[in-house]
């Protein structure tokens, strides 16, 4: 296979006496869909936060697209192509749906401070272009009808979708989804599975998915890594994971077999 898109090597992070993630190795190639599962408190979200630059690992190495990412700010990592959603939805509450997307196109905004004040020709064409891009994205994900609503006034499922669209607006190479199915009903989950597949194929990106819903995880992931107490206890295809004795003991429970 080609050079990996994201590589975690021996990554450890300690908060005081607690080792949240310990010696984690994880490799993601282009256009792969990887699941990350494990019991609550296993360190999944912490791993996300290290990949996106929110936390700095105590030791170990993270490379993204051949670049060492240690110490790079999240906003710059977003520019390199790492985008994410959050476990508890974090939309911009005082902005409309359209502006939530538009503000995330900032990285591709040709005008800065003084351009926005002068409002010359470049600014106008630039703004029109960004708005068009944002609207196109909204249309693809069936959110265009909400364009002028405040983001937090949308139905729950639409807010989850909007968060994914906002992440896509940064043109990512790697999309990290933190429990996207949380709080969804079965119909919405099926819809989500379709959506994730669609996003991956259409935008040719890799997806790292943290999720508790086994139907979602087993249904779409090509490979799954399992964390327990900050350690990776297994990695393999959904089939392998389902019969892995350690995983069954730690997480799935005997009933799942």
């Amino acid at each position: 296979m080609s050079e990996p898109l994201l590589e975690l090597k021996d990554v450890t992070i300690r908060f005081g006496g607690l080792t949240a993630v310990s010696a984690l190795d994880l490799t993601i190639h282009s256009n792969e869909l990887i699941g990350l599962i494990g019991p609550n408190g296993a360190g999944k979200t912490t791993a996300f936060n290290m990949i996106t630059g929110v936390y700095r690992p105590t030791s170990g190495q993270i490379t993204f697209a051949g670049k060492n990412t240690l110490g790079i700010k999240p906003s710059r990592l977003a520019g390199l192509g790492v985008a994410r959603t959050f476990q508890n939805i974090r939309l911009f509450g005082s902005l409309t749906v359209l502006d939530n997307i538009r503000v995330a196109t900032q990285l591709h905004n040709p005008t800065g401070y003084f351009g926005s004040l002068w409002r010359g020709k470049n600014w106008k064409t630039g703004e029109a272009k960004l708005e068009k891009q944002a609207l196109e994205l909204l249309e693809i994900f069936d959110l265009a009808k909400f364009r002028d609503e405040l983001a937090t006034s949308l139905p729950y499922g639409a807010q989850r979708r909007l968060e994914i669209v906002r992440a896509l607006a940064t043109h990512p190479k790697l999309l990290l989804l933190d429990e996207p199915a949380a709080g969804m009903n079965p119909a919405e989950k099926d819809e989500l599975i379709r959506l994730i597949r669609f996003v991956k194929d259409r935008y040719q990106l890799s997806v790292l998915l943290v999720e508790h819903d086994m139907k979602v995880v087993m249904g779409i992931c090509e490979r799954i890594a399992v964390l327990e107490y900050g350690r990776k206890i297994a990695e393999g295809t959904p089939k392998e994971i389902q019969c892995h004795p350690k995983v069954i003991e730690a997480y799935l429970g005997a009933a799942a077999v």
Binding site: A78, G93, L95, D99, T111, E127, R147
Partner: protein, 305 residues
């Protein structure tokens, strides 16, 4: 709100201000003075609104930046002597730029702090400025800086107020400026959406400081006298009250509040000692009854451009 023709409104505002300036010899001097006070208050409140309202960083040091700009511009005018009038716009600009520079130095370390901590650091900064002014002989120390030429008129004041309103509104109503609101709403989400939150906060702080400095220069050449005590933290609180009263992040409301809170003390001259009590009560009742601001009407956040 701002359409592509927004610049036209700016020019209309400036033209009106200049026209008013030519008519001003016919105006009552007292009303003229109050009018200029109102214009200065608008500049202060609207610029603080970018920091405290739109970007959501609680600064209590606006009077400090006003002092920096005011003293610097006044000092230049006094050095220039006869030619001060010709160079007045440049002195104002220099005062604003100097305040912005100080804002940059204060902002970079302190904007890493959040909420209350930032408020305390900026409060401390404001006091430092006041104490420095009180002990610097070159700018009059405790007895104040006297004999500043009277150069501020309606034209400069309201022309610059129009410019301030234009700049803050134009900024916020652009894709670039939506970043300020994103920082206000959720820093973590903003950062992961590619918005450099530290830079946005510093930019808001420096822009706000710049206009506070400009307002200070206007104030100095309006009152013709600067005393360090005029820039204590109560002055900062006064500007914060305007922003809260007008509704954080709502420029029109903040302008209305700046007008109201400048005129109100004029009507309440007899009870002026109780002004701060009035402000405190105003804020308490506002927080209970109308936390979105007195002049905040049910507006959906407009879309950009």
């Amino acid at each position: 709100m701002l359409k592509f023709g927004a610049k036209r409104w700016l020019f209309i505002g400036i033209a009106l201000a200049i026209a008013a300036s030519f008519l001003s010899p016919n105006f009552n001097r007292y009303y003229l003075g109050v009018g200029i006070d109102v214009g200065i208050a608008i500049i202060l409140a609207v610029s603080l609104n970018l920091i405290n309202g739109h970007t959501g960083q609680f600064s209590l040091g606006h009077a400090g930046f006003m002092a920096v700009g005011g003293y610097f511009a006044a000092w230049i005018s006094l050095k220039l002597g006869e030619s001060a009038e010709v160079f007045f716009p440049l002195s104002l600009l220099a005062g604003g730029l100097f305040a912005a520079l100080i804002g940059l130095f204060v902002g970079i370390p302190s904007l890493r702090l959040r909420g209350d901590y930032l408020a305390i650091v900026t409060l401390g900064f404001g006091e430092i400025i006041r104490v420095v002014a009180q002990n610097t002989e070159a700018i009059g120390a405790a007895s104040g800086l006297k004999g500043i030429p009277k150069l501020t008129n309606l034209g400069w004041t309201f022309g610059l107020a129009a410019l301030t309103i234009y700049i803050i509104t134009a900024l916020v109503n652009s894709t670039y400026g939506r970043g300020f609101l994103a920082v206000h709403d959720d820093e973590i989400a903003a950062e992961s959406s590619g918005i450099n939150t530290t830079r946005y906060k510093v930019v808001a702080f420096v822009t706000g400081s710049f206009f506070a400095g400009i307002a200070g220069g206007l104030y100095a050449h309006h009152k013709q006298f600067l005393a360090p005590t005029g820039f204590d933290w109560l002055k900062s609180v006064e500007i914060v009250v305007m922003v809260i009263l007008g509704g954080m992040g709502r420029t029109a409301g903040v302008v209305a509040a700046a007008i109201l809170l400048t005129l109100l003390p004029e009507f309440l001259r007899e009870v002026s000692e109780y002004r701060m009590i009035l402000y405190a009560l105003l804020i308490i009742f506002l927080m209970i009854l109308r936390p979105e601001g007195l002049f905040a009407f049910k507006l959906k956040r407009r879309q950009t451009s």
